[in-house]
Symmetry: C2
Subunit: 434 residues, 2 copies
């Protein structure tokens, strides 16, 4: 049969990996779909020494790909949300299927892109946009489709997980490990996207839409980074039997969904707590299947290309299938999406870890526990460390389940006590069903 013709826009890390996988797996791919895939056109400003594109046609202007009548599928790997969005919308308007690894574009412009794709009867596939090589989007929209998903909780940023793993295993400080991560190429020169949770929020937006059948709502994700965590917090969490992970959590409640990214204390015995280094892991709890975990590489040239090429294989096999017979963009039919509300962070209920430093004065602990008690917050465990002389005394405690707003008010009052020194750290706790 005639080859399926694809164009690749962007020849960076993921683009070169995609070229490499399409070339090295060409024979196996043909065994799978019964016809070859041919890279017909590449859009890139400059060559990439990590892949040999032979005599494939190259355009410096990526928009040329959207207009190339030869192409069946456009693979968007340029990243960003402006040119990428324009390119994808133009390819769709020209009747091409699209594969993308672009989490920011899908999270922020996915609703618009899917509407355009539906209008033109083409598919948009984006498995590579979340958790790299782990086929978690397919699991949510197909493998676990029989379930009502109760919650999804994922380590979905490898850089952040590398930093937290190093801090825990070696007792190192955040800034110190971040510097190493930058030297190793795991973290960008401006690490904000990774360590402040924006990248994870993009991915969580996508996971939540597929899990619950809701439109993409990136602007409603509550986001908190890991840059304020200290080696002391990680040790104290360990003492209580927990590991601190930077999680994206999407939870279905009877009163709307929760969408949040923040550091989280997770019990040591939960498998997700043992996902270390740059690896990603996503737990999904469904009402029929119970808890599941999907683990693997969350980034990198070849792992991300693995997901890109899996999407290409599926589209290449089903070029002739009408859009109505395909898996819908977000797993649910567009008219079947739910308009349930997203909860404000103040409404969330969970346990908390709290760490603060106080002057060693009789009565300060009584003041703290009184304030907590007045807000209806009960203490599960408390540890006050012995110190020498006049040094500030560290207090760490775990609460029982409490509403976020009550916790916030209690900590404001505690912070106003004269004997509390410096900032109070509070981290949410999630037992993840354990």
């Amino acid at each position: 049969m005639a080859p399926v013709k694809v164009g690749i826009a962007g020849l960076g890390t993921v683009g070169s990996g995609t070229v490499n996988v399409l070339q090295s797996s060409a024979a196996d791919i043909a065994r799978r779909i019964g016809r070859p895939i041919e890279i017909t056109h590449i859009g890139a400003r400059r060559p990439n020494p990590h892949c040999d594109i032979g005599d494939i046609r190259v355009s410096a202007d990526v928009m040329a790909l959207a207009d190339d009548p030869e192409l069946d599928i456009l693979i968007e790997l340029i990243g960003g949300t402006t040119v990428a969005r324009e390119l994808v919308l133009r390819a769709i308007a020209n009747g091409k299927h699209v594969v993308t690894a672009n989490k920011a574009m899908i999270a922020e412009h996915g609703n618009e892109i899917f509407a355009a794709a539906a209008e033109h009867g083409v598919d948009v596939a984006f498995e590579a946009s979340v958790a790299g090589g782990i086929p978690i989007l397919k699991a949510l929209s197909e493998g676990l489709a029989a379930n009502r998903i109760n919650w999804v909780a994922g380590i979905i940023n490898g850089t952040g997980n590398f930093i937290l793993t190093e801090m825990r295993e070696k007792g190192r400080d955040f800034a110190d490990v971040l510097k190493e991560a930058q030297e190793l190429g795991y973290a960008e020169a401006d690490p904000t996207f990774d360590v402040e949770g924006i990248d994870a929020a993009h991915k969580l937006t996508i996971l939540a839409s597929l899990a619950f059948g809701i439109p993409l709502q990136f602007d409603k994700v509550y986001t908190e980074g890991i840059s304020k965590l200290t080696a002391e917090d990680i040790r104290a969490a360990d003492h209580f039997g927990y590991v601190i992970k930077h999680l994206g959590i999407a939870r279905q409640t009877s009163d709307g969904v929760e969408l949040r990214v923040h550091p989280t204390l997770v019990p040591k015995e939960v498998l997700l707590a043992n996902v270390n280094g740059v690896k990603n892991g996503v737990m999904v709890e469904g009402d029929a299947v119970g808890p599941t975990l999907f683990y693997g590489a969350g980034a990198g040239s070849l792992p991300t290309a693995s997901a890109v090429v899996a999407d290409v294989i599926e589209l290449a096999r089903t070029l002739a299938v009408p859009q109505a017979d395909r898996v819908p963009y977000l797993g649910f039919q567009t008219n079947g999406l739910s308009d349930q509300r997203v909860r404000d962070i103040d409404e969330v209920e969970c346990s908390f870890y709290v760490r603060l430093h106080v002057r060693d004065r009789t009565g300060v602990l009584a003041d703290i526990t009184r304030i907590l008690s007045e807000q209806g917050i009960s203490i599960e465990a408390l540890h006050q460390q012995d110190v020498d002389g006049d040094s500030p005394v560290p207090i760490v405690l775990l609460t029982h389940t409490v509403r976020e707003s009550a916790m916030r008010q209690a900590l404001e009052q505690i912070g106003a006590l004269g004997d509390v020194i410096g900032d109070i750290m509070r981290i949410r706790v999630d037992t993840l069903g354990a």
Copy 2:
């Protein structure tokens, strides 16, 4: 749109779970596929108190389902390999798509069933046949389709994993835990299928075919059970930094594939070593994605129904799609299957754990190490336990990588030494890429 009509053959544990999930998730399923699914006909000898089938038509003769012209999809959940095979072939001949949870039938008769299905242009879906609710077959045939799979290694029998977990965590003996597993309903009265690895071999057969694109070859799986493992072995493995798991392993080598089920020492720090209790976990290593893990419930009414209903949803959505545009039965086009050979167990190369008891006589250890050395087997670690008086001395050792045949010959010679008492235990070691 008109409902998709399904018939369910078998109303046991999985059958009742399937009815329950189809009923409880009916609204969400319609949101996904744009039309409802209707259970039109059930084949069962007697009612099941765990599900309310209302006024759904029931036939005591399941064959009536294969001949029911109303049905679009037949769901085979009666188990076994005789009536089930006949039922499925008849439904296929009548142009119905089939969903099944029947690992034995697929592993032993899948090649014949797929040939019949291809002839009649219908699909056969069997996600539920391996690892219950974990969508591992979809991951292999679709999510990881861009990869050349290097190996798959799975804990794919929950009963066996429950027994090994209890033995490890509580120092209990095999027979003692088996009895408890039987009382809890995790193990059958005749536990052979579970503890001797036959159930796992059925599942491994299926995993290997999807991983490597080879025909189903159940008769070529090397199978070894867990009934001879002792608490002493589990302690000794722990001492060396390993956990003993009953794994199904399929490995691609340059000289054919390996298909084997046996107890395996796995390094503690590997995530799979921490999959405990009745849970299942499957690791897949692909050339692009690297190592991945899929974890969840491997059995049970609702988890298995989760996989059955996911398959039903996919078929219901794609009723109008020609078979040629679907994912092929084994992930590869029938004419793209590989005829590579399956290695004999004697050809496998790995490290070994060996445990034996000897009389406390000078020179016996020298005899043992000499025999190992003559077979080209080098020792990585050895531990000889101190004992009182004339008791037999336990020796445990780990070898470096060695060919199975050399290990077998060495152990035959060691076993013939006059000072070796009782049976020698040898267990394969797999670092699973760590």
